[in-house]
């Protein structure tokens, strides 16, 4: 049995590493179609990563260890989070040791170091990006916790694996609290992963950037690791969303044989999620940066309403 645990743990991490760029490619592909363009294909992010890994790293003269260390840390935390979130199965040995609060904490560590690295090299853009990112983080993280707590209350656990197990074994029931929490989660996920309407991952305009401004000075393998980690973060947020709100299909405890089916469900759900992201991104312009607090305030309100309605209605 212990061999099985090790196997699924590895499988999850490999899936995360392999599928995150493909999912990003899928989002870009659907986006191209929505704009009436020919896309570069599902595997373009792989080609981008391969290109970056082959390139030389250019370091600013005054870059400290923080700047060099951050890409590895960001990459590492993303991989670690992938070992905890039930992507295809709940039978994860690491899962009992860390709940969803830890996952949010892992992302927070990555963000903290990225912000430090943005300021480390001392360019105007880096500092600007860091300050914007921290403003958004300070609003997104509490809202995210609120939304997750609502789900936890409904399922009596803060462990994602446990939540999946409970939802899948007790059967579907539509709860207003979960509807509020889902809405809040979508808004927060857009902000956390730097998508339109909060940030624009495709822009070249330094002055408008948030996440990209912090990593503007990265190059070569450092940039490749950060880009890969960003793709994983997007993948993980969709995974968390699936686990918390629509986990059907994820292999439950001791259901070794349903793994292939879980993989199929995974692909289907991600395909749908990608289309959803594209619909939002194509239909909306990026909001003015000082609208983001209102946007995340709304997310926080929704999550709070979800929690209240849990106590009142459920």
């Amino acid at each position: 049995m212990s061999f099985y645990y090790l196997f699924v743990e590895l499988l999850q991490v490999v899936l995360l590493l392999a599928l995150a760029p493909v999912f990003l490619g899928w989002v870009r592909m659907v986006k191209c179609w929505a704009q009436g363009r020919t896309s570069a294909g599902l595997f373009q992010p792989y080609r981008d990563l391969a290109k970056l890994f082959a390139k030389e790293v250019l370091l600013a003269e005054n870059a400290s260890w923080i700047f060099r260390f951050t890409p590895y840390l960001v990459f590492g935390t993303a991989v670690l989070a992938g070992a905890i979130v039930p992507i295809i199965t709940v039978d994860l040995p690491l899962s009992p040791s860390a709940d969803v609060i830890v996952i949010i904490g892992l992302f927070a560590i990555a963000r903290f170091f990225t912000a430090l690295a943005g300021m480390d090299i001392g360019t105007a853009f880096g500092g600007m990006g860091s300050s914007r990112e921290m403003m958004i983080a300070s609003l997104a993280e509490p809202a995210m916790l609120m939304a997750i707590f609502t789900v936890s209350l409904a399922n009596k656990s803060t462990s994602l694996s446990q939540i999946v197990q409970v939802i899948c074994t007790t059967g579907a029931s539509i709860k207003p609290s979960l509807a509020f929490a889902l809405l809040a989660f979508v808004l927060i996920a857009l902000a956390e992963t730097g998508r339109v309407p909060v940030d624009n991952p495709a822009t070249h305009l330094e002055l408008t950037m948030i996440h990209e401004a912090m990593i503007l000075e990265y190059s070569g393998r450092h940039l490749a690791l950060i880009e890969w980690a960003s793709a994983m973060k997007l993948f993980l947020f969709v995974s968390i969303g699936i686990a918390a709100f629509a986990p059907w299909g994820i292999a439950l405890a001791n259901e070794m044989l349903s793994l292939p089916l879980a993989l199929l469900f995974l692909v289907l759900k991600f395909a749908v999620a990608g289309v959803g992201i594209v619909l939002i991104e194509t239909g909306l312009a990026k909001m003015r940066i000082f609208r983001v607090p209102e946007f995340l305030g709304a997310a926080f309100m929704l999550a709070t309403l979800g929690m209240l309605s849990f106590f009142i209605l459920d």
Partner: protein, 523 residues
Amino acid sequence: MKTLLEILTAELDAPVSPVSGTFPATVPVCSVPRERFAEAARLLKRAGALLAAEWASDETHLGRGFGVYACYRRDSGYLIVCAALPLDDPSFPSLTRRFVPAYRFERQMHSLMGVVPDGHLDPRPWIKFEDWPEDAFPLRKTFDGSQALPRVAGEYVFGKAEGEGIYEIPVGPVHAGIIEPGHFRFQAMGEDIINLEERLGYVHKGIEKRFESLSWQEAARLAGRVSGDTTVAHSLAYCMALEAMTGCMVPDHAQWVRAVMLERERIANHLGDIGAICNDVAFAFMLYQTMRLKETMLRTNKEIFGHRFMMDCVVPGGVAAGLDAQYKAVILEELSAVEDEFERLVMIFDENSSLEDRTRSTGILSAEEARDLGMTGLVARASGMQLDCRKDFPFAPYDRIPVNIPVMSAGDVHARAWVRIEEVRESLRLIREMISTMPKGQRSAPVGSPAADTTGFAAVEGWRGEIIYWLQSGPKGEINRSMVRDPSSLCWIGLERCVLGNIVPDFPLCNKSFNQSYSGNDV
């Protein structure tokens, strides 16, 4: 109402003498003593005139010293006031106290021609770089353009803000996008812009100097390359000035074809700009659709005129190729297709509230500021100024086909986008009308050579705004000076103004809504 010349003659306490040998006759040129150069500006400003251009000319080959010129505009009238400067003391009173645009014009005159504006507060070079020798004045006849300049040490000092929480953001000159180079220096507090200073000149090509070594015919090709996206309007302005000097009567057919090309250039560029404005707020769908429409127009240009941007299609005396019935049909057919799609895109632009939230009340340039800063073209029209050479100073066929000028009062990014939308609609209508009324005839008329010591002036409404050319012939009838005034020379300063009080991440949007030319400004 009295003309500007009448007002000046009546009110200036010094002799105002008309200058002869200037064309066209509708644009009077008068000379005043140089001490009264600024006084003339004061009187003209009181009369409601705007400063359209200011420049200097080295007239030593004509047996004089330097000449400084100021071109004023009020409604439909232009007036050029000049003053002669002696070689040993080439100074003149600065107009900066009366007119903001004089600020950069005079720095440029000082840097390139070595004439000294007395009373100008900013001695820093403009267009010329600080690592050029201070006494190298490229536009002087004594300057040898074929010699490499030695580099000297120099520093360009930017305005600085100081205090708790103030920081500086240098942007450029090389930008992340594939655009021209220019430097922007922001002083910001948090996200609020408290000052923006532009530093331009990185694409200075010495075009005005180069003109002087070309024949009148060759120079038309050079004019078409001052700003590549406005090649029709620039060549047209040059050709009109030359035709005025030589008394060339351009055939009607050629006039109509020129206007069709001018409007096509306007549509193509406005389409690109509308998409680019949306792309800057991450609404990329609009960019790809408008770029697609633009591309179809450029391909039709290539098919009909032989060049995607219609470069070298306007030639002195007429056009390089006429328009026959077959091509007229192609244009009309394409117009319907473009119009149909354009209207659907406009509906999307108009109804998307997230887009409107970004463009409304961003980068406001009030009507008063626009007037004080001497804005022109679509920037002026978005800030409530009714200015358009096609209406105010009409040349054929605009004297027979009246143009509706869209004017918005908000002065924000939305207004500048919307003026473009309305202008596309109007240009589509104009092209249809031009094609249906286009007379048959020759595609060009012969152009003679200008007489010695004459000047020619022309103003053409390009898609950015009013383009001015002023040509001066030398003692042998050659080009002595060719002054190029792209609308960007006026409107760049409006961008500095309109971003004040806005936030840093909104700057690219404001910039895109102006979309001024670096090349046209830096010549």
